[in-house]
Symmetry: C2
Subunit: 569 residues, 2 copies
């Protein structure tokens, strides 16, 4: 029981020196990567830089205790920080302390929601976010984040939480353009893009081991941070108006519980739900992909507990909502992390950085952080998915496009909410007019195929309809209409056979429709038969009175029905 909820008890007893050294090396690399990321994502969320560091200490320890993935690296991530920023913006707070408190409340609520979902084993709720909705949302978030960071590169003020308002605000403030910031920011941006694109092949050409080359090319942000910080310090760019991170208080976060404020909690509740679900879905897919590479498994319900406790830990230590990050987890995996202990060691690394390195962060330009964010989020933008999805399925495309557009133009909550609702409505619509075929016998065989596609034998007194969908409330009335229409159009019919090999379920609505169909057919002198009903469906039908009322029979196979009912030769 305890082992089930505390995965650490499983791996800790086999923990040895090999695992320890692998985990320490991975933790060191992730720590170096995580320092600028945590600062950047805190600023993206509209919070002071140290909040990002705080969110990278205790939450990692909590996840190491409760998480089921061995290699997931938890902490602040871009999309969740964007959602945090949007949620806090709608509160209209003016005091920085209130903003920090709101972020803590958001982390606490997200954590509690995740934990409750985990205890109730409701991981499946995340399935309501279909891939097209997630994909549209992530792409839109990437674009929104990139747009929102442009102001740091340009050195101007700008605000807004939709593409139009950000764009308008940027344009209005272009006259304030700050040249030194622009040079620094765009320099960092081009450097990062170049590193991303060319460093790895170049290093490999030089004969560097591929995995080291990969690691070094991912160190681009760290190099950019070090170089631009040194430049800013050396050239005194801060005095020339280049925005820097500034004073980051040294020392570990103080523990405190966000105090209860009913109105505030209520205002943040919906945002917390969305943050939990989006963070969970993204994190689980990363964790699953990595686990599969080593034929390991993750437990989605345990992941809820892991991520939930990480968020609660973030809330009580002055942090912001966190989840598993994609690039960071891949680095952790590639660096050889064996167990969640790597996460705990990373936490130690960040704690040491918070104690000792904050003076070095003073001269870190915000433009550099913005450049690292932009380069990171542009990899989230997948506009090609629109074309791919359009070709595959129009209704999935509609859900994706609506989510993308509404997220960009109205906001993250409306965007993702509409996407979820739309994908459910489209599912109902798609299955509300199921594919069906009037079938006949392929001469000389026991096969029955679509009369429109195959040359088949039919009998005017017999109509066989194969419906290729489960029967449920959204298509029950369609079935009634369909059968009424077929019978009205074929006055010679005496038997109607519903062929059910593709009917995986019949709900109570469809059952009532079948009863109505049976009754109406009987009133007009036609008998209703079923054929090839699946076992579980038949079991369920036996628990109703339908089979007693049925004017015809249930045949094991369509061929049996054909033999029994067709006109004698």
């Amino acid at each position: 029981m305890l082992q089930r909820y505390l995965p650490i008890l499983q791996w800790l007893k086999h923990y040895d020196r090999t695992a320890l050294s692998s985990d320490v090396v991975a933790a060191l690399i992730v720590t170096i990567m995580l320092i600028p990321q945590s600062l950047a994502y805190a600023l993206l969320a509209g919070l002071p830089a140290q909040v990002g560091l705080y969110a990278s200490i205790l939450p990692l320890v909590a996840y190491a205790l409760f998480g089921s993935s061995r290699t997931l690296a938890v902490g602040p991530v871009a999309v969740v920080s964007l959602m945090t920023a949007a949620a806090i913006a709608q509160l209209g707070l003016t005091q920085l302390n209130d903003v920090i408190a709101a972020a803590m409340v958001l982390a606490l609520l997200s954590g509690l929601i995740l934990i409750v979902m985990g205890l109730l084993r409701l991981g499946m709720l995340a399935n309501f976010l279909s891939h097209p909705v997630i994909s549209g949302f992530i792409t839109a978030s990437g674009l929104l984040i990139a747009a929102s960071q442009l102001r740091h590169i340009l050195g101007i003020e700008a605000e807004g939480h939709t593409l139009l308002s950000i764009g308008h605000s940027l344009l209005a403030n272009v006259p304030q353009l700050h040249i030194p910031t622009l040079l620094l920011g765009s320099g960092a941006l081009f450097f990062l893009l170049a590193v991303r694109r060319y460093l790895k092949p170049w290093l490999q050409q030089l004969g560097v081991n591929p995995s080291l080359a990969d690691m070094l090319s991912k160190a681009g942000p760290v190099m950019a941070v070090i170089v631009t910080t040194a430049l800013t310090w050396g050239l005194g760019l801060e005095q020339q108006g280049v925005s820097v991170v500034g004073l980051v208080p040294a020392g570990l976060p103080q523990l405190s519980v966000p105090h209860f404020d009913a109105a505030l909690w209520q205002q943040l509740a919906l945002a917390a739900v969305l943050i939990s679900v989006v963070g969970f879905v993204e994190s689980v897919s990363v964790a699953q992909t990595l686990a599969a590479k080593r034929r390991q498994r993750i437990d989605p319900n345990q992941e809820l507990l892991g991520l939930g406790s990480a968020n609660v830990a973030s809330a009580v230590s002055g942090g912001l909502p966190v989840t598993g990050g994609f690039s960071r987890s891949v680095v952790n995996f590639d660096a050889g992390a064996q167990t969640p202990a790597a996460g705990a060691f990373t936490a130690v690394g960040i704690a040491i950085a918070t104690l000792l390195l904050t003076p070095l962060m003073y001269f870190l330009p915000k433009a550099t952080l913005a450049a690292t964010i932009i380069v990171a989020v542009l990899s989230l933008v997948d506009l090609e998915a629109l074309g791919r999805t359009w070709r595959y399925s129009r209704s999935d495309f509609a859900a994706m496009f609506a989510t993308l557009l509404l997220t960009l133009l109205v906001g993250v909550e409306v965007g993702i909410g509409s996407g979820v609702v739309l994908s459910v409505l489209l599912l109902l619509y798609r299955t509300s007019k199921p594919h069906y075929a009037v079938v006949g016998r392929v001469a000389g065989t026991e096969h029955f195929r679509n009369v429109e596609r195959v040359q088949v034998e039919t009998d005017a007194r017999l109509l066989t309809l194969r419906v290729d969908e489960s029967l449920y409330f959204a298509n029950a009335r369609y079935l009634e209409d369909l059968i009424t229409e077929k019978v009205a159009a074929n006055p010679a019919i005496e038997h109607l056979i519903l062929m059910c090999p593709a009917v995986n379920g019949i709900d109570a609505s469809a059952l009532e429709s079948l009863e109505a169909i049976n009754q109406r057919l009987q009133d007009s002198g036609v008998r209703l038969h079923l054929s090839e009903v699946k076992g579980p469906v038949m079991d369920q039908l036996k628990r109703s009175h339908f089979l007693q009322q049925l004017s015809g029979q249930v045949f094991m196979s369509q061929y049996d029905a054909w033999c029994a009912l067709r006109a004698p030769d």
Copy 2:
């Protein structure tokens, strides 16, 4: 084109004297039945009696022009009047004129919603109301209506729109009990119940023709109205405090368009949507049942136009929301109505009554109307459906029970809204963990069956999974988990075959999951194959890159897959 939207053009050209005389007789009978009903349902909606008469004139003419059912009798009905009462109550109006105006706005909005749905051919939207939700709602409405009418039988004041508030209000006012009203009301009630139960068999015993006996037993309410009105007048019961309908203004309704009031329209919009959809669903099912008896068809989208125009007609002539009534339509059908002209003749009948008979309505006791309503709505209450549905499907039962309970305890809008949301969530839940089977070959055959149910041949290097559900967003991740688990548990596997005869569709989410599964299996040295993929699903898969990426093959039949992949003997 015109014929499509004006069904009258189809039947009018074949109209002859036989049809005319049948329609006139049916109209006469329906008129006699409709007069007390229209008064009663107006009072139920909290409106003056004449509003019910007005709603039984022009709307019937409009439906005769645009409706597609030949025998549906339109007018005020119990459930819609209850919903109207609830919608208006929440406005907190104190002036009777405002209440009347609100009812007109509600009819107008419902009419416009129905017409727009009809023009957009959105009749399928009504499918979102599953049978269990409708059934739970109608039962709850019947109970609520009966409870709300008890006050008229007891002669006391009472209000409220939930079972608890009505009950509480009745109990609090029991001391006001008015004995003459109680005697009259309960007399009418017992008379109506007795007529309903015993008159028809008794008349048949006396040798009366069955259909005439049926008709006479349905005339019970008219007899009760006539007798109690005469009693009230003769015994001067009004002076003794028996509530009567009182002065009903004579004359036809004046035409006027409800003036636009944005705030009011907005407040009534949701109620109008629910009234439209509930009214439409009920009406269509009545119309469909009657049409099938004569092998006729109704067109649901045309019905939307018919009912929509009836409601608009009601709105401009001082009426309330209307729809097709069950018992009234059955009487119309049984009385031999041939065409919608019967409805138009009924309208003439009601118009004449409104011109000439209103003085006779003065002494009609409200207690009698309440008794007719109670007897009528008790036939809507179907508590046995709860047990039937429980046995058939727990999730349908949950939707029905929640709708029933919330309608009774919270209100009609919350009740039906929660029912719709719940039935969609339960559908997603049900299909989110689809039935699946690991299958093996039945020795000596080409059949593959569940290894847990049938003695079959398997191969340790080969795992075949048959999933009995379409693959879509709600179960895509479940499939990922399932396959990861099966592969982790069977280290010897080299080939995984997904057998898809029951997969009616694969949406973009499931496609991405399949791609992820394929990639993860490949990473762990397992090849993924598909077998027995349906034609339309295969067509769709060909529009993606999945088949190129697939590490294995797509086999026409599972037997082909078995032959190709199993270990050589």
